[in-house]
C-alpha cells in the first residue's frame, strides 16, 4: 500500500448518501430499487460495489455518477447537494469531476482512439493543442502509445477498455466510476485493467468506485460494499491486492 498517496487524500469526505431511495413506477407497480442507502466515500478510496443483479448497485452508481436522481434522501458531492441541482448543473458536475468506464466500453465507432479520448476535452472547451497533448498523455498512461490512430474496430477488447479509461481520466476527474469494467474481458485482460485502475488510484489519487460481479476483481479494491435488496448489506475494508 502506498502510504504517501493514501494519507494525502485520506479523510476528505467526497460523497455522502443519506437515506437515498429510488422508486421506479408508481402505486402497485412501484419498484423500489434503493430503500434508504447511507454511504460515505472519501477521497482516494478504491471502492468495489458488489451484489446480485437487481440489488440496486447499478442504480446507486447512476445516482452517484449524477446520471440519475434519487427519489428521496440526500446526495452530497463535495458538500454540494446534488439532488437540488438542475440537469444542466449535474452535467457540469460530470464534466469537471467525474469519469466513466462502462462494461461495453462505449467508444465512438469509426473514430480514432485519439479522437475518442479527446471527446470530453472538447466539451471542456480545450484548444486543439491541449486536447492532443492531454489525450496522448492519457493514452500513454493506459499503455496505448502508438495506437492513437486506430479505431475501436481495430482494437482488442482490452485495448478498447484502455481507450475508455484514457477517455475517463483525460479530464483528471476526482472520481472514476467503473461499471463492470472487466465484464466483457477475459481473465488476463481483466487483471491488466485492474492493475491499471489500481495504479491510477495509488499514484494519481483518483477515487474509484467500481461495480463488479467478480470477487477476483473486487479483491483489488481497498473497500468492498455489498448490496442486497436495495440496501447496503455489508461494508468492509479490504487489503487491496498488490
Amino acid at each position: 500500500m502506498n502510504m504517501v498517496a493514501f494519507t494525502q487524500t485520506d479523510n476528505q469526505l467526497l460523497i455522502e448518501l443519506r437515506g437515498v431511495t429510488k422508486v421506479y413506477g408508481t402505486g402497485q407497480a412501484a419498484m423500489h430499487a434503493l430503500r434508504g442507502v447511507d454511504l460515505r466515500i472519501y477521497e482516494g478510496e478504491f471502492l468495489a460495489v458488489m451484489g446480485p443483479s437487481g440489488s440496486g448497485k447499478s442504480t446507486c452508481m447512476n445516482i452517484l455518477g449524477c446520471l440519475d436522481t434519487a427519489t428521496a434522501g440526500t446526495y452530497r458531492f463535495k458538500g454540494i447537494e446534488v439532488n437540488r441541482l438542475t440537469r444542466q448543473q449535474r452535467t457540469k458536475l460530470r464534466r469537471f469531476y467525474l469519469g466513466f468506464v462502462f462494461q461495453g466500453f462505449n467508444l465512438l465507432n469509426r473514430t480514432s482512439a485519439l479522437e475518442n479520448v479527446e471527446l470530453p476535452l472538447i466539451y471542456r472547451g480545450a484548444s486543439a493543442h491541449e486536447r492532443r497533448e492531454h489525450a496522448l498523455q492519457a493514452l500513454d498512461t493506459v499503455g496505448l502509445r502508438g495506437w492513437e490512430s486506430h479505431t475501436p474496430g481495430e482494437l482488442s477488447g482490452g485495448q478498447q477498455q484502455r481507450v475508455a479509461i484514457a477517455r475517463a481520466i483525460v479530464t483528471r476527474p476526482t472520481v472514476l466510476f467503473a461499471d463492470e469494467p472487466t465484464g466483457n474481458l477475459d481473465s488476463a485482460r481483466s487483471h491488466e485493467i485492474m492493475e491499471l485502475l489500481t495504479g491510477l488510484n495509488r499514484n494519481r489519487g483518483v477515487t474509484i468506485v467500481m461495480v463488479t460481479h467478480e470477487p477476483d476483481m473486487a479483491a483489488y479494491a481497498k473497500r468492498v460494499i455489498r448490496f442486497v435488496d436495495g440496501l447496503v448489506a455489508s461494508d468492509e475494508p479490504n487489503g487491496g491486492k498488490t
Binding site: 452535467t91 471542456r124 480545450a126 476527474p173 494519481r204
Partner: protein, 451 residues
C-alpha cells in the same frame, strides 16, 4: 497535486469545437452524408439554373428588341383584338406609309412591309423561307445592315426591279460555300385575292403558275406565282430570336415587285415607323392614329380599324412573360428544395435513433443538452450548406452549358446564388432542429443502454 481540473473556456472555442464535432461526424459517415444532401444539391441547382436561364432569356428578349429598335411603332390593319389582328379590315396602301412619312413629325423612317412564305430555288437547291416586300427603310427601322453587296437603288424600288437581299440562312441553304451576289434565284409564292375585294385582281400577276384555289364559295382565289430575281446583297446575320425563330431566314425584294409579281395586289401588310431619338413615341402614335383615321374616313364614333403598337409595350409584354415563366419554374424548383429539406430531416431523425448510444456517451462525458442540440443543428446546417455549395457549382456549370445549347446569354445572378445558399442553410436549421431536440432530450442512462 498536478492532476487538477482545467478551467473551462467558452465562446469562440466552443463554437469551433461544435463545428469540429460536426465535421468529424460527417466524415465518419460519408455515404450517409452524401445521400442526405442529395435533395438539397438538386433543389439548389434547379432553382439557380431556372433563374439563371430565365434571366438570360429576359436579357435576350430585351437585347433583341433593342436591336430591332425600341422606338419602333408597328401599324397593322384591323381592330385591336389582343395579340394578332382581326380579319376583314381594309389593308394599307403604300400611299399610307408615304403619308405618315410626309405628315407626321419626328418620324425617322417609315417602312411599308408585306410578307408571305415562299420557296426559294437556286439550281437544284430549294428552301422554304419568308419573302418580304419593302424598301431600304426596312433595313433602317429593323437595324439591319448589308454584309456584302449593296442595298436597293431608288429606281429599283420605284420600278419594282427583280432584285433581292437575302439573309444568311437563305444564303447558306441555297449557295453553301459559293458566292451568292449576282446569282439569280427563283421565288415561288402565292397570290390570294378575294373576288369581292378591293378591285385588285390576279391579272396583275405575270406569274406562270396555274390556279390552285378550289374556290369554295367562290370567295377566295389562290394562285401560285413566281419571280426570278438577282441577289444584290447579303444581310448581316442576327441569329435566333427569343421566340426561337431564325432572324436570318428571309428574302427582301422591292415592295412594288412583291405586290405585282408575288402577291398580286397593292396591299401593304404592316407599316413600321421608327421615331427619332428622344421623342415621345406616344405623341407620334397619336399623330399616326389621327392621320390614318382621316385617311380611312372614320367618323368620330367609329373605332379604329387599325392598330398602332408601340414596341416598348411589346418589350414589356415579352419580358413580363419571360419573368413570369422564370418565377413559375423557380417556384417549382423551390418546392424540390423544400423536399430536400424534408430529406435532411428524415435522415437526421434516423441518425438520432442510430446514434442514441453515441449521444448517451456524449451526455455521460459532460455534454450539455444545449451542446448536443447545437452539434446536431450544426451538423444539419453544415450538411445542407455543403449541399448548397455543391448545388451552386453544379448549377453554374449546367447553366453555362444550357445557355450555350439554348442560345441564351449566360447571366450570372449573384443574388440568387447567395439566396440559394442562405436558403439551404436555413433548411438545415429548420429541418435539423426537431431531430436535434430529440437527440438533446435523451436520457443518458437510457441512451447508454440502447443497442
Amino acid at each position: 497535486m498536478p492532476w487538477k481540473t482545467k478551467p473551462v473556456r467558452s465562446g469562440n472555442l466552443v463554437f469551433w469545437n461544435t463545428l469540429l464535432l460536426a465535421f468529424r461526424e460527417i466524415r465518419r459517415n460519408v455515404m450517409r452524408s452524401v445521400l442526405t444532401i442529395l435533395g438539397i444539391v438538386i433543389g439548389v441547382a434547379a432553382v439557380i439554373v431556372m433563374v439563371t436561364i430565365g434571366g438570360g432569356a429576359t436579357v435576350q428578349v430585351k437585347q433583341q428588341i433593342a436591336s430591332m429598335g425600341s422606338n419602333l411603332l408597328m401599324v397593322t390593319p384591323g381592330k385591336r383584338l389582343g395579340p394578332g389582328q382581326s380579319t376583314g379590315s381594309i389593308p394599307f396602301k403604300e400611299s399610307d406609309a408615304a403619308a405618315i412619312a410626309r405628315e407626321v413629325n419626328s418620324v425617322k423612317a417609315v417602312a411599308p412591309l408585306s410578307t408571305q412564305s415562299a420557296k426559294a430555288v437556286f439550281g437544284n437547291q430549294n428552301w422554304s423561307t419568308q419573302v418580304a416586300g419593302s424598301n431600304n427603310r426596312y433595313l433602317q427601322v429593323t437595324n439591319r445592315s448589308i454584309q456584302s453587296g449593296r442595298q436597293f437603288t431608288d429606281s429599283e424600288v420605284r420600278s419594282g426591279a427583280a432584285v433581292c437581299l437575302i439573309g444568311e440562312t437563305v444564303r447558306a441553304k441555297l449557295f453553301g460555300g459559293q458566292g451568292a451576289i449576282g446569282e439569280k434565284i427563283r421565288l415561288h409564292g402565292t397570290s390570294t385575292s378575294t373576288s369581292t375585294g378591293t378591285g385588285t385582281s390576279t391579272s396583275g400577276s405575270t406569274g406562270t403558275g396555274s390556279s390552285s384555289g378550289t374556290g369554295t364559295g367562290g370567295a377566295t382565289t389562290t394562285t401560285s406565282t413566281n419571280l426570278s430575281c438577282e441577289v444584290i446583297g447579303l444581310l448581316t446575320a442576327k441569329g435566333q430570336s427569343t421566340m426561337g425563330t431564325d432572324q436570318d431566314d428571309f428574302v427582301v425584294i422591292p415592295l412594288a415587285a412583291y405586290q405585282r409579281r408575288l402577291a398580286g395586289n397593292q396591299d401593304v401588310g404592316i407599316i413600321q415607323v421608327s421615331v427619332e431619338e428622344g421623342v415621345s413615341t406616344e405623341k407620334v402614335r397619336q399623330d399616326i392614329v389621327r392621320l390614318l383615321r382621316d385617311r380611312r374616313h372614320l367618323s368620330p364614333s367609329d373605332d379604329d380599324n387599325f392598330n398602332v403598337m408601340d414596341m416598348k409595350e411589346i418589350v414589356k409584354m415579352l419580358t413580363g412573360t419571360t419573368q413570369m415563366m422564370t418565377a413559375l419554374l423557380s417556384a417549382v424548383a423551390a418546392v424540390s428544395l423544400l423536399v430536400g429539406g424534408i430529406g435532411i430531416m428524415n435522415i437526421m431523425l434516423v441518425s438520432v435513433t442510430e446514434r442514441t448510444r453515441e449521444i448517451g456517451i456524449r451526455l455521460a462525458v459532460g455534454a450539455l443538452e444545449s451542446e448536443v442540440l447545437m452539434q446536431f443543428l450544426v451538423e444539419a446546417v453544415v450538411l445542407s450548406s455543403f449541399g448548397g455549395v455543391i448545388g451552386i457549382v453544379l448549377a453554374l456549370t449546367t447553366s453555362v452549358w444550357l445557355a450555350g445549347v439554348l442560345h441564351v446569354p449566360f447571366v450570372f445572378n449573384a443574388g440568387i446564388v447567395v439566396l440559394a445558399f442562405l436558403f439551404s442553410a436555413a433548411v438545415g436549421v429548420i429541418f435539423g432542429y426537431f431531430p436535434a431536440l430529440k437527440a438533446a432530450r435523451l436520457d443518458p442512462i437510457e441512451a447508454l443502454r440502447h443497442e
